[in-house]
């Protein structure tokens, strides 16, 4: 199981786990635990079919390797005992006529047959995965940025669009359509346990479909070299029951909730003030406030996410504090500057951010 | 191999159509032709992916390019004539033909420069402008190199380097010039004529 390296916070401990909007039917062993990636042992329809294709090729490939290796070793060793006895300068010339049969059978006929049949299997699987089994229940516009993933849940009739970052929720057992865009360079969207990868290319709209067949959290990666922090451009796909998914989506559509607890109200209000004063709104947006920055991730429901910094850290108070204070130490070259905040300002800011569930 | 045919008169440094130097020039032309093929691939690929009209401002005007095409074809004829001359040992025909080719080649470049100055688009105005100027520009550069070689060959002709039997450099440069002409015809058809089809 994956657990991203926790940051040893300068400001406090990792004691508080994020209060994730968990609903019935979706169980996580720990809040930040995702299945390690793999292309076999898959949990999605597309990846399952591709894995079948993969097994066919792997098994056939291993068999060919075994046979050819045995033939080679036999060819090298079968006359060894007799070499020492005979004159080394003697040449062998037993005529090439029947020896050419090796080439015709082993080099042409058998490979042609194997390749033909494996190609047929390929065509069958390729047809299966090119379109979803039925119409997609949701469309998500995924935009790759350097170095994070934006996800927008597109609804024709909704007044509020759900926008989140680095964490995509999907209903279990239902196909979801992804529209893939890039804000800058070429990236590649890859969740190995669920489907093959598709590039995101600036100026193009690529589409793919994805379907998770078991609840869980699946690890996703950027799979096209995109610069300094290509290594830390990860995301998760959270598959949950359709009801849980709809609840989550409804919450994500809402603008930021206004805190009502008067005891901490001042702290939170001062946190929002810190947010504005420190220039965070230049890059980040929080729907429902005047922060409308488009350069960095939408933070409206930051507290609902399991991971931050594109899968680099678990979303704990300590990690968040460390990320805000010195993102460059964790992800050098990323777009997030090291923010020089007083510890008091940081405290209020964290209090405010924790309300963004 | 029959003994009698193995070693009769073997000419020394024959330098004719069967010589290594000739094959070398053919291969240089093959690689340069491939270069232009890839540039034209870029042109047609971007054309096929263009969201709007292509070319954006309509097909480029023919009023300088068409006469220029005839000028270049004529220059191929003159250099062919000069090569025929030296094959018969006619030094005057060689020099005259090369000179006429040079003049026509300069005229081509001059007209192209005028056409460039009148274009409504520039190399940085969009993908089309970038393609137009890069493709015609590299062609022009090949013309320029061909003219430099022409001048060198004319100087050598005046020094008496070429004879009926030994004029491989002339043949090779003539071949190169025909190639440059051929590239222009393909470029002209692609950039100027194909937008006008359909």
């Amino acid at each position: 199981m994956l657990r991203p390296t926790p940051f040893s916070s300068l400001h406090g401990s990792n004691r508080s786990f994020p209060r994730v909007a968990v609903t019935a039917g979706f169980i996580l062993t720990t809040a930040s635990c995702a299945r390690a990636p793999a292309i076999f042992g898959t949990y999605g329809l597309a990846a399952d079919r591709i894995a079948v294709l993969g097994w066919v090729f792997t098994i056939v490939g291993c068999a060919v390797l075994a046979v050819v290796s045995v033939l080679l070793v036999m060819a090298l060793t079968r006359r060894r005992k007799r070499i020492a006895e005979s004159d080394e300068s003697t040449l062998e010339y037993s005529g090439s006529d029947h020896a050419v049969r090796w080439i015709l059978i082993g080099g042409i006929a058998i490979p042609a047959v194997i390749l033909f049949f494996t190609f047929l299997v390929t065509l069958v699987i390729q047809a299966e995965v090119s379109s979803p089994p039925r119409k997609a229940v949701a469309t998500i516009e995924v935009t790759g940025h350097r170095w994070w993933w934006e996800a927008k849940y597109v609804e024709a009739d909704s007044s509020e669009t759900a926008i989140t970052a680095n964490e995509i929720h999907v209903p279990v057992g239902e196909p979801v359509r992804l529209v893939l865009l890039s804000a800058d360079v070429i990236h590649s969207f890859w969740v190995p346990r669920l489907a093959g990868k598709t590039d995101v290319i600036p100026g193009s709209r690529n589409t793919m479909w994805i379907q998770a067949d078991k609840p869980g959290v699946y690890w996703g990666e950027c799979a096209e070299y995109c610069g300094l922090q290509h290594s830390h451009m990860n995301f998760t796909v959270v598959a949950e029951s359709p009801e849980a998914f709809r609840s989550w989506l409804a919450i994500q559509r809402q603008p930021a909730a206004v805190a009502t607890d008067t005891a901490t109200d001042t702290l939170i209000a001062r946190g929002l003030d810190t947010f504005r004063r420190s220039g965070c709104a230049a890059c980040h947006s929080i729907r429902g406030t005047d922060a409308q920055g488009r350069i960095g991730p939408d933070l409206t429901h930051l507290a609902s996410r399991n991971l931050i910094a594109a899968g680099t850290l678990t979303n704990t108070r300590g990690n968040l504090a460390g990320w805000i204070s010195n993102a460059q130490a964790l992800k050098p070259g990323s777009g997030m500057p090291a923010m020089k905040l007083s510890s008091q300002d940081l405290k209020t800011l964290l209090a405010y951010l924790e309300t963004l569930k | 191999m029959a003994a009698s045919t193995l070693l009769d008169d073997l000419p020394i440094a024959d330098a004719d159509a069967r010589s290594p130097g000739r094959l070398g020039m053919i291969l240089v032309i093959a690689t340069e032709a491939s270069f232009f093929a890839y540039l034209l691939f870029a042109y047609f690929y971007l054309a096929s992916m263009a969201p709007g009209a292509w070319p954006p401002a309509g097909a480029p005007s023919l009023h300088l390019a068409l006469p220029n095409t005839f000028i270049l074809i004529a220059s191929s004829a003159t250099i062919w004539w000069s090569e025929i001359g030296i094959r018969k040992g006619n030094q005057t025909q060689l020099r005259l033909g090369l000179l006429m080719t040079l003049i026509l080649g300069i005229a081509f470049l001059a007209l192209q420069a005028i056409e460039y100055s009148h274009q409504t688009f520039s190399p940085d105005s969009g993908a089309y402008g970038s393609l137009f100027f890069t493709i015609t520009g590299f062609h022009g550069a090949h013309v320029f190199v061909g003219l430099l070689m022409n001048i060198v060959i004319q100087v050598r002709a005046w020094c008496g380097h070429f004879s009926e039997k030994h004029h491989l450099a002339v043949s090779n440069i003539a071949l190169y010039w025909h190639f440059v002409d051929g590239v222009w015809i393909v470029v002209f058809a692609s950039l100027y004529l194909s937008p006008r089809l359909g």
Binding site: I50, Q126, V129, S204, C226 | D8, I12, A13, A42, P56
Partner: protein, 640 residues
């Protein structure tokens, strides 16, 4: 076939004619293919070590999660330079080194068709390598990957000089590669000894010929792509930028239309080397010579039709991808032909175990693994999982180390004795082989698994808990074992120069013409140009091939630097070719190019103009004849 000896006065005369001039002029101006070949080998090997050094540092960084040995920028420069160095500055030039050295000796000629072009191809190679590596001195080595995808390599995302070094360096290097290729093609068709018809030509010639023809048609695609990238970066053009009508995928098409043929260019000559070595150690001629030659040519042609398989994840139409997928599977068949030809040759022969044969055995196994994991990426949906993961890193290293490096090391053990006159050590050779073979497999086999566990390529680090850590440790260990083997080879090489056994003309009892002359060969190669009557001239008698010694001989050609020009297909003598003396023009021309490219790199346009003027001047001087040509032909008497 008995070697025709010439009278003493003739060999003295020939030595005088063909020896390189002493002093600096000789060093800078030599056109001797043997010297140029050795220079290529040494220079390419130095780049191999530099590329390997980069890999060693990278492997340390990747041995454990979240290591901080390298910053992301340093890692990105290292992995880019590792790729550029190995793929461009080592893999092809090392094969050019062997081809340059061996071809004239194998085809019975005194030199290549264009000896000065040969020198030029070497000088431009080494100077383009210096140009590219000078970027390291200022800390701005290329960092966009050896494949340099846009838009990341456009000015907006790569503002430094890094990718300018790349674009200009690649154009500079492609000049070397292209003119070298042209030289090989013309030599193949015009300089073979009389009687060496196409069916008697050693396989290395077919391999290098195929690669050379591919270079003529494929290299311009990279030149075009790099020019367009440079124009986008510095002249505000819009070839690749989507907002202004360009397309990022245009770069990928152009790059891979070059790049895929390139991977065959770096293996087909090596396959030729292997095909010429295996018969010597199997003690019999190659089984299926015609099949092997045809499979080489077929691979060269098919290699132009598969490039889109590098782009399966980019969202192209299914129909197009399916065509390229089928072609990518078909191209495995010619490889199978060659593999079974070699197995059949060994099976029906009497294998004699020497170090080269060990490398050849290792080469065949690594070739099969690399071919299989390559075919596994041919089906489009499975490629959607495998592409851009460490599975591909496994594939590329199995094919490059397997089909290029292993034949090269076998060839070094086999042909270095011809070049130096000294044998390398059998005992040390076995250690070198096993360290390299075990090291390669320990390093690269686990990458199949890391890739299947989702590890992407080109990452400078990874997180713990993904299941990748242990496999990365194993890979790193394997890499260092491999490096140890290479180091041991270097030790053996230097040791052999002083203490190796004397090789003699033909230490391996091999069949081809280069083994008929001394080790090292005299500067003129052959006193008398041989007349060839067999595919295995030195074995012809023992194999019972008819008329191996009878027949007319050519006279000694000793009136200046001369060799025989023959017809393209059946190699009938056509003329006596006059070869050039040592010349300073190739060195000067390369230097002018270096000045030109630095001028463009730094935007010092006056410098670029100086370089261009130098280029025009040196080319004119080169082609200016030194003496008027002789008009009368010579009558060569026939000896019976």
């Amino acid at each position: 076939m008995a070697v025709t000896t010439a009278p003493m006065e003739s060999t003295e005369q020939l030595n005088r004619i063909w020896e390189t001039r002493p002093g600096l002029f000789g060093v800078l101006g030599t056109v001797d293919h043997k010297t140029i070949g050795k220079r290529y080998l040494i220079t390419a090997f130095v780049f191999f070590l530099l590329g390997g050094l980069a890999a060693s540092v990278m492997r340390w960084q990747l041995s454990r999660p979240e290591m901080h040995l390298l910053s992301p920028e340093a890692y990105n420069q290292l992995f880019t330079m590792h790729g550029v160095t190995m793929i461009f500055l080592f893999a092809s030039p090392i094969l050019s080194g062997f081809s340059n050295y061996l071809w004239p000796l194998m085809i019975g000629a005194r030199d290549m068709a264009f000896p000065r072009v040969n020198a030029l191809s070497y000088w431009t190679f080494v100077m383009s390598g210096i140009f590219i590596y000078s970027s390291v001195l200022i800390g701005q080595a290329p960092d966009g990957g050896w494949f340099a995808y846009v838009p990341m390599t456009e000015l907006a995302y790569s503002p430094g000089l890094n990718m300018d070094f790349y674009a200009l360096g690649m154009i500079f290097l492609s000049i070397s590669t292209t003119i070298g290729a042209i030289n090989f093609v013309v030599t193949f068709f015009k300089l073979r000894a009389p009687g060496m018809s196409l069916n008697r030509v050693p396989v290395i010639l077919w391999g290098t010929l195929s690669a050379s023809v591919m270079i003529v048609f494929a290299a311009p695609a990279l030149t075009a792509a790099c020019i367009l990238l440079f124009f986008d970066r510095h002249f505000g053009m819009h070839f690749f930028d989507a907002a202004s009508g360009g397309q990022p995928l245009l770069w990928q098409h152009l790059f891979w239309m070059f790049g895929h043929p390139w991977v065959y260019i770096v293996v087909l000559p090596a396959i030729g080397l292997a095909s010429d070595m295996i018969p010597t150690f199997a003690r019999r001629p190659l089984v299926g010579y015609t099949f092997v030659v045809l499979s080489t040519i077929t691979t060269a042609i098919l290699g132009f039709g598969v490039w889109v398989h590098h782009m399966f994840a980019t969202g192209l139409p299914q129909m197009a991808m399916t065509f390229f997928s089928a072609a990518s599977m078909m191209i495995a068949i010619p490889s199978g032909v060659s593999i079974f030809a070699w197995i059949a040759t060994l099976w029906h022969g009497r294998p004699r175990f020497r170090t080269p044969l060990l490398f050849l055995g290792g080469f065949i196994i690594l070739f099969v693994i690399g071919g299989i994991n390559g075919v596994m990426t041919a089906p489009v949906p499975f490629d959607w999982q495998l592409t851009d993961s460490y599975f591909i890193v496994a594939h590329i290293h199995y094919v490059l180390v397997g089909i290029n490096v292993f034949p090269v090391f076998g060839a070094l053990y086999y042909w270095l004795p011809k070049m130096t006159g000294r044998m390398l050590s059998e005992r040390i050779g076995r250690w070198v082989f096993w360290l390299m073979f075990i090291g390669a497999n320990v390093a690269f086999f686990p990458m199949h698994i890391t890739g299947m566990l989702g590890m992407p390529r080109r990452i400078y680090t990874y997180q713990a808990g993904l299941g990748w850590t242990d496999l990365n440790v194993i890979t790193t260990v394997g890499a260092y074992i491999f490096a140890l083997g290479v180091g041991l080879f270097i030790f053996d090489f230097f040791r052999s120069l002083k203490h190796g056994a004397i090789a003699g003309n033909n230490p391996w009892d091999a069949p081809t013409l280069e083994w008929s002359v001394s080790s090292p060969p005299p500067p003129y190669n052959f006193a008398v140009i041989p007349v060839v009557r067999s595919r295995h001239p030195l074995w012809a008698e023992r194999l019972g091939e008819a008329s191996s010694t009878a027949g007319p001989e050519l006279p000694v050609l000793e009136d200046g630097r001369e060799t025989i020009g023959t017809s393209m297909l059946d190699s009938r003598p056509q003329e006596v070719l006059l070869m050039p003396e040592d010349s300073i023009w190739p060195f000067l021309l390369s230097s002018a190019l270096l000045v030109f490219f630095y001028g463009i790199l730094t935007s010092l346009w006056w410098l670029a103009i100086i370089g261009a003027v130098g280029l025009a001047t040196t080319m004119t001087g080169w082609f200016w004849p030194s003496a008027p040509p002789d008009d009368h032909s010579r009558l060569l008497p026939v000896e019976s």
